[in-house]
Subunit: 403 residues, 2 copies
């Protein structure tokens, strides 16, 4: 008997780990945790402008926004960060009205260098303000056409390595440059990410087992639970949710080596707000969702409900004297208990330490590893996005035909 | 032979319409389109404060935010609207820092009158500023405990009818009061909603057929396509997306009369931003999603890409002279074409006329009707939310035990 093997079944944890180690040799994001950061910090010191305007879209902005949104009210930041990322004319106009362009540094970020949205907005800025080496830097691949433009104008350039994909690029120049400029401690960011990196690769703190089990669960149950909800109990994590949606959706929505469509659908919601929106669907709806609740252990904030009694509302006096940080975490716990009470909704909880650089960076690195692992289990390439190419070709044709 | 009938199969369009007509007798949102608005407009004229601070959560804020976010940059509004809606202490603090509380009108909105988040924040405000009949009004059910408080203090009260659920309440005092105060034309809002109301109930412009077909499709294919993506091509519609997610998720995530879990999962994304995030998953992922693309026909905005040539980027000169409003709509068209090209993703397109009151209100009323219709087809009650009650009980216990 002869036999041709053509099935690709689930592989073992050990095999997956070996695969990831091999991948780490050529996929760039893994090792960004131990890079040299001096070039960002040195450049940051030279920036005189008060406003930092990032022009980019998708992977060029989402990670930076996630970290900035998480930290901006808890740190004394020296500068303000703005994002121009869409072609909606009203959005562009209203955002630009709020910025003093004469006191702005423009950071143009595009991995390919030819992103339509980014270049359109960048061109538009040329009609409002003089763009030159004093107020503009680019972040792009070393041989991109945008880099050529920067060279012609003597502008400072920062490189996105070819082997770091946009949605995995937050710890490259894409994120580190603007974050360093506004005053975020990028070494603490990398340390937070490195802790998870080391935990996984050197098998500390149960990190490797945790990630492998979670990735295996998500992929083994992917046909039943095709939706993965991240329920973040802090409005500070709104940017993280958006970043997660891109990372998860764009990395895992793929055709696998068996020519089968794969895809785990990410949803990001915010507690307690979405207790009043999405929770009903989780609890009573179809069993097609996993839920990961993210809690901030320490808000480092003393805001308290005062001992005020409102006539008629005395029944709510049990709220008096309670800290809001305690209230929101008890709300998270109540949600977790109510989900667990129905028994058949897979639910896990991530507690991050505080509103600090290392906490958000660790969370993001954890999710990147999880994404890479799920992709391995699913026999797909996490790092490309062939599905959006056709839309780009159609758009180009439409726009060229207009002329 | 005797026979006991215990199946509830799909019902006909005519039966559904009769059911909705019956429901219209006792579910209040349907008829809000033809109410008297003088009381809101009269009160709005008396408001002296520059800042309008809404304290509420879920259905008490999402609809108002959707309309305000859609219109605020396109209308000359006389006042600014703020929303305090979460117990995240950093969020509360940073929002309050941006508002002059001494020049603020506080609108406390809670249907039940005892919403934990709303009352907690309201109590906190008492520690910052004197709250009295001159700077505070309440919007609640006529016999709620919050109304009792308002009466004691001689505060103006506006009623949420008992038969109008929170997520269906945007065209009641919940939305009309704050929107009228900041200068939005609430009669135009109601006219926009009324056009869809009349289209459906008097069978004009194909509205009834369109809505019935769409609701029937969503429910007949609910086990294959359990996710309904709304892909809005304007950042102005970000609030609408959030409102849609509550409306759809909380109304349709229910146990039906056959004791079977139902639930259509809403996702709201923004174009073109999410072409760089979620589109890959739509195109190459599992076929578990329908897609509704929403386009704004007329942005009434002349922002244009100037005829600037960037060295090295000459290939993108086809963008020169293009209006951003045209670019974003061509991006929407390219996305629609690329989705249709793969043939097996159900996709429809809604074009709204412009950035005006009637357009957003019509869109919202359309979605409310669609939700009611899906619920009828699915034999569920669109208007309750029993699944979140247990979490509230658990939270109350946790908080009372602390004392």
């Amino acid at each position: 008997m002869q036999y041709v093997h053509n099935f690709n079944p689930t592989i073992s944890d050990d095999e997956i780990f070996v695969n990831i180690l091999e991948e780490k040799e050529h996929i760039g994001y893994y090792n960004l945790v131990s890079q040299e950061t001096a070039l960002y910090k040195e450049y940051a010191k030279t920036v005189k402008q008060k406003n930092i305007v990032v022009i980019g879209i998708g992977g060029s902005t989402l990670g930076t926004y996630a970290i900035y949104k998480f930290l901006k009210h808890s740190k004394e930041l020296s500068k303000k960060l703005f994002f121009l990322e869409t072609t909606d004319p009203i959005d562009i106009q209203s955002k630009i009205e709020g910025v003093d362009l004469e006191d702005s540094l423009f950071i143009v970020i595009s991995k390919s260098g030819t992103t339509v949205e980014t270049i359109s907005i960048f061109k538009y800025l040329h009609s409002l303000v003089e763009i030159n080496a004093d107020n503009c830097v680019v972040v792009t691949e070393h041989d991109s056409k945008l880099n050529h433009y920067a060279k012609v104008h003597g502008m400072k350039q920062f490189e996105i390595p070819k082997n770091v994909g946009g949605r995995f690029s937050v710890f490259s120049a894409v994120g580190l440059l603007p974050l360093a400029i506004v005053g975020i401690d990028i070494d603490s960011l990398l340390n937070g990410a490195k802790e998870i990196h080391d935990g996984f690769f050197y098998d500390k703190n149960g990190t490797r087992t945790r990630l492998l089990k979670k990735a295996r669960f998500f992929t083994e149950y992917k046909n039943k639970f095709n939706i993965n909800v991240v329920f973040s109990y802090s409005s500070r994590l709104e940017g993280f949710n958006k970043w997660y949606i891109q990372l998860w959706g764009e990395s895992l929505g793929k055709i696998d080596i068996n020519e089968t469509r794969q895809g785990l659908t990410p949803i990001g919601i915010i507690g307690p707000i979405d207790q009043h929106s999405f929770l009903q669907l989780i609890i009573e709806g179809r069993r097609d969702k996993t839920v990961t609740v993210i809690k901030v252990e320490n808000f480092d904030n003393d805001l308290e409900i005062p001992s005020v009694t409102l006539e008629g509302l005395e029944e709510l006096d049990y709220l008096n004297g309670l800290k809001f940080s305690s209230l929101i975490n008890k709300q998270a716990d109540a949600t977790i208990e109510s989900i667990n009470a129905v028994k058949d909704i897979p639910c896990d909880v991530i507690m991050i330490d505080g509103v600090c650089e290392s906490a958000i960076a660790g969370l993001m690195y954890e999710y990147k590893l999880l994404t890479s692992l799920c992709a391995k289990f699913m026999y797909i390439n996490a790092y490309d996005q062939p599905g959006v190419e056709n839309g780009k070709i159609i758009l180009k044709k439409k726009l060229e035909n207009k002329n």
